[in-house]
Amino acid sequence: MEPLIDIKNLRVDFALRSGTVRAVRDVSLSIGRGERLGIVGESGAGKSVLGFSIINLISKPGRITGGEIIFGGEDISRYSYEKMRHIRGNHISMIFQDPMMTLNPVLTIGTQMKETILAHMDVSDEEAEAICLDKLKKVYIPSPEKRLKQYPHEFSGGMRQRIVIAISLLTNPKLIIADEPTTALDVTIQAEIMSLLLELCENENMGLILITHDLAVVSEVTQRIAVLYAGKVVEIGPTDRIIGSPQHPYTRGLLRALPQMAEGKRRLNQIPGMMPSLLNMPKGCPFQPRCEVRLDRCLREIPVLTKAEGGAQVACFRCQGGDQ
């Protein structure tokens, strides 16, 4: 089956005064229709830049400097601003971390929602309002008619994120990119938002790219997970497989560091050190300075993603059978 979106060898560079930072390093990913993919990694791994680059929302001095993003048979990474606007509104939507920053505080919810509809669809004002009400019901906003006339500050944090989701649904997109959509929210609200996203994706056969640092959250919602480290995908595969039997030492370390995985031991497993600066990358495998099962080869060569058991791909020489 043809994938919904196919990212090939994507490269994103930020030209800074102190040097060029390659935030996304030759990432290849594809996502099927209605598929839910999680992108996990720690801060600075490049997961947000990757998400933003799909709809070309990277701000200067960042730039896509290589690779392709195939959507609907065309490479959208080279699209003009106008053509990209069409994709962004109609086919791919984005949900950001902080709903208070995403919504305009001086406009009512109704104005903001209708603005989006009228920019992308040829409908009358009444029809637009009907679409708004329909979407607000889908995200379980009580008394939507009244709510349309209210301002963002009149909503709680969880309600605001529901509104943002409703806005992202307005044009019936095929793919939603959600960048840490619940990081600013409490755990009870997070549970509500995640179950809502899951329900909407399943009902509407919508694709989802969920960008988060929280492995537990991602495991509850997605079908596949890509683990990002220093701008590279180090492991990708079915969610059960990544959570159940992670292969890459970094993925293993991340999972074992979670208190849920401590299995009665008091001390948590920790990954020594920290992620390298993108300006000063180590030679060979980017994870090599922190890796406990490092080989000589890891110091010299950069491992590429290779097929592993259970439909996964891993970029690690150790997982590929050692030092041949």
Binding site: E42, S43, S156, G158, M159, D186, V187, T188, Q190, A191, E192, M194, S195, L197, L198, E199, H213, D214, L215, A216, V217, S219, E220, V221, T239, D240, I243, G244, G253, L254, L255, A257, L258, P259, Q260, M261, A262, R266, R267, L268, N269, Q270, I271, M274
Partner: protein, 335 residues
Amino acid sequence: MTAILDIKNIDKHFDISGTILDQLRLDGGRITRKRTVVKAVNGVTLSVMPGETLSVVGESGCGKSTLARTVMGLYRPNRGEILYKGERIDNLSSSQMLPYRTKMQMVFQDPYASLNPRMTVRQILEEPVRLHNPSLNRDEVHDKVAEVMRRVGVDPVWSTNYPHEFSGGQRQRISIARALVVDPEFIVADEPIAALDVSIQAQILNLLMDAQEERGLTYLFISHDLSVVEHISSRVCVMYLGCVCELGPAAELFANPRHPYTQALLSAIPRLGGKAGGHTRLSGDVPTPINLPSGCVFHGRCPHAGKRCMTEAPAPRTMQSGVVVACHAVAEGRI
């Protein structure tokens, strides 16, 4: 065993009504003066035992950080008493409080904000040592700082660097070093790992647990991350709208939550390999702490609320398992 810290029936309210002009309202043709008060902490009673980790959990706005700051004397409670080893500390002046400050230390959430950017790490760490031990000479202070830095895993050669030259995890290590350098007995940690990445969180939690083991420290740990709390606490206190709902041994409370709010809160924890949507749904949102609901503060969202819950605040009751629950439905045997 006597408690290291006793919190007795503490209230902390903040008046946010502003100036007298802000308080005046026109009400039915008459000018009235109205005060707006945020009731952050309401009637909290807790004892912290020596050597334990007591965690306070709850959603944002539940008053857990206010409680921590009140304990440290950063806020003065409106009502109630705080006793440290049997001595009252909530009404002391700052000079009377000074000797307690070597025993009680605090670690804050954001290591970017809690370290002075214009001081080097050495200055940051030496300041509390000099203040509390004026008799130490320069070399002794120097040695003490170097020892604590090594202990928290920051090489003393970096002591002439400034906070911005360190990563988030390293900065939090420095914050912990600043607390440890005066040899405290009791540490209040207010969300110490909330700003950190998963792999760094584990490093900091291990550091806190190691320090506890070596020095016999007692922690009052404030967090919203329930799986972390489950892992490190001996006892857990669940707060909602400034009130304690449930308090008990961590293992018992997580295995067998009794209060309806605790049940809902714990069910919302994302689990590895679980599926979203299995949580207990609560109706509505957390009310503002400005107009507290009458009776039980949770009654508006509680699936088990009865008539009594709307009028009468439930008193804490100790269950057979040792867990303290403030809920009429539990007391009446309805749940």
